[in-house]
Symmetry: C2
Subunit: 211 residues, 2 copies
DNA sequence: TGCATAATCGCATTCATTGCGAAAATGCGT
DNA sequence: ACGCATTTTCGCAATGAATGCGATTATGCA
């Protein structure tokens, strides 16, 4: 899932192989359980050798998260490359919007992925670690916004709240059609509430300090 | 690290064995690295068989976190058993105060633990998963306070902010004496700022809704 | 076509983890 | 102090993930 620019023939083939492995693996995980599926079975289903699976993925867990691939890099880029005057929360908002397109086109796979993750503590931990990396990116960006240090309380709280809303938006499903994610308008309404919360928190803290 | 009431002779011995394993393991991890230390080495250093190490701990990672033991249970208890009229944040505040006593008496071990954790991605993930469990407890308690559902935004944001401050308080060290944790007064001052943030956020959200 | 390069593979090794049954230690009543 | 029931510890074997290394095969380009 590395960011590939030059679509050399070789590269495309590699991407296809990686994608195949991840896809059949997810199927097997969903059907037979994550723990009960061995690398050997995945290799066979993907028609490659077990050794090849291990060269593509540093760990069994990583296969499950191949879908999410470059998310972190894209978030980092969105934060780094945000236009002057646009703050972190605004950048996060538009990043979520752009990620949504991807989510929509992979809704089934993602829901399958979620089911697999929830069934294994190791995968849950892996996911939390990934989300924590998002949080670190946000802390740094927010610290710049607020003219504070990443170790300070405000950027930390703001970032954790931001991550909380991202988490909610990624996993929450429509109450009626449990398989479908919330519609955009709904998501953005929730995001704006989160924004209100964060701004309210920051302001409250500033007022208290001013006192 | 199960909650032991009856201190039967056998139980005490078991606790001692567990504690010994965890202690020598932490030493080895710190000295030689987590990955480079094998269960066999730990077993030898603790003077038990490798098999015994595995019966005490479900995974190598769990050895590192033996110290933290019943923290989650204690938090759950603190939230469940809080006096009527005391809200979640107040309960969390006094829980942190009571945990501090433990932290103080194990400062060296905890700092050693931290060093080991930061050096391994798997351990970082494991820790994030534990912290996330704290967050789930807080979400549920806060949802009750706010008369909302655990899936709603406000308890989630409040809980994630609460976890952020807990995280900061557990890891932040005094700027002068890097090895010592922040003094109580400092910690409580920070906690109260977090409280201000959360209350400010919740109020802002309510006002926005009232509009 | 032929060659340089890169992808795959096979094999062997290390290590964590688990099940199972045996062996040793313990605690308790007599 | 003794013997028995229970619990803890252990040894052994098996499974499976992950990795290093060198061989083998496939690929793309001149």
């Amino acid at each position: 899932m590395a960011v590939e620019h030059q679509e050399s023939l070789r590269e495309r083939k590699k991407q296809k192989t990686r994608e195949t492995i991840a896809r059949v693996a997810l199927d097997l995980f969903a059907k037979n359980g994550y723990q009960r599926t061995t690398i050997a079975q995945i290799a066979e289903a993907a028609d490659v050798s077990p050794r090849t699976v291990s060269t593509y993925f540093p760990a069994k867990e990583a296969i499950v998260f191949d879908l999410n691939g470059d998310m972190k890099e894209r978030l980092a880029e969105a934060l780094r490359g945000r236009p002057a005057g646009e703050n972190t929360m605004e950048a996060l908002r538009s990043w979520i919007l752009s990620e949504r397109k991807f989510w929509e086109t992979h809704e089934e796979q993602l829901s399958c992925q979620r089911q697999v993750i929830e069934g294994d503590d190791g995968l849950i931990a892996y996911e939390r670690a990934q989300i924590h990396e998002f949080e670190v990116l946000l802390v740094e960006a927010l610290a710049v916004d607020l003219e504070l240090e990443p170790d300070d309380l405000e950027p930390r709280m703001a970032a954790s709240a931001a991550v909380a809303v991202f988490d909610l938006l990624s996993t929450e499903k429509r109450p009626e059609v449990k398989s479908e994610m919330l519609p955009v308008e709904e998501q953005m309404k929730i995001f704006d509430q989160a924004l209100t919360f964060v701004v309210g928190g920051v302001n409250a803290l500033r007022e208290a300090r001013g006192t």
